[in-house]
Amino acid sequence: MLEVKNGNHEVFEELVERHQRWGWTVAYRFLGDAPLAEDLVQEAFVKIFEAREDYEPTASFRTYFQRVLIRSCIDYQRKNKPVYADELEDRSRSRQNPEDRLDQQEVNEAINRILTELPDRQRMALILKYLKNLSYEEIAERMDCTEKAVESLLGRARSSFNDQAPEWLKDRVKDHEPNQKEMYS
């Protein structure tokens, strides 16, 4: 990032390539809308590049980028209505083979639909914990809150997510469950 401060585009492009997947998956799960997620991720990177001269190396670029993106997502959602998965059926088609796609798409849309019903901060905490496997400490740092607050957000989010999930989704997801004993062997 110190090289980026001097306007080095190539180094910044490498940083974008390294962190774009993390950013896009979080933004996509949070917003439930692929084009919107792409737009917010782009904006977060542009914002960071424009403010490069004020960058203080107190945290890694990874943490810095994640904090900027998380704040952008929550701010966006606060100012705009959530986009419900029903309205987005065609917008988020994945590039998988056509046979798997329908099944995967159905699961994906059901997950988005449940997530969009959750309050913003609960939703973000749940995504950071289960999509990105961040610790409570890391989530607290990214979301500017205490670990106790993260625990409380996750408790409520887990309970709502589970209550709103239809049985067919639970069955479908169960088919992909890893064997716990295999994990520890």
């Binding site: 974008v16 782009q42 994945s94 994906n108 914990k129 289960y130 999509l131 997510f161 989704l169 716990q180």
Partner: protein, 160 residues
Amino acid sequence: MNCDQVRERLDAYLEGSLSKDELQQVDRHVDSCVDCTEKLRERRFIADALAEDHVPEPPRELSGSVMQRIRATEESSSSSQQGHPRRSRRSKRWAAAAVFLVGALLGLAFQMAVLQSGKRSSVRPTGVERQSLKVLEIHPTGSLSELVSPNTNRSTGGKP
């Protein structure tokens, strides 16, 4: 382990990061506790539903679009600045502070100038005062009564 201790460890249990001893304790508790079995089932469902497998691939051209946007922003800002080098936010802040300081100094100088001119105007004689001074120049030793009624004593030579 009690229920609270087990539930605190459910995520680590699912991630496969418990020690062998903790794993055995959690397993033993879950086998004999209906509530914790249900909590484990819920937790496993959430972890699996939100796993990356269900998220579509990000667009391939994402980094290219970011760099394109950055170049477009830079071009538009450099053309609007007409050849002036791009100023950082910090240098803009310094410029604003300098402008403020110069303004404050000019204000102070103006105030002092007004005060000085006020002092000067306070010693400058008015029209009436100027006339009185002229009279005093003509009659430097004369008394006030002579000035007010000059004929009184002069006509009579100073005698009643």
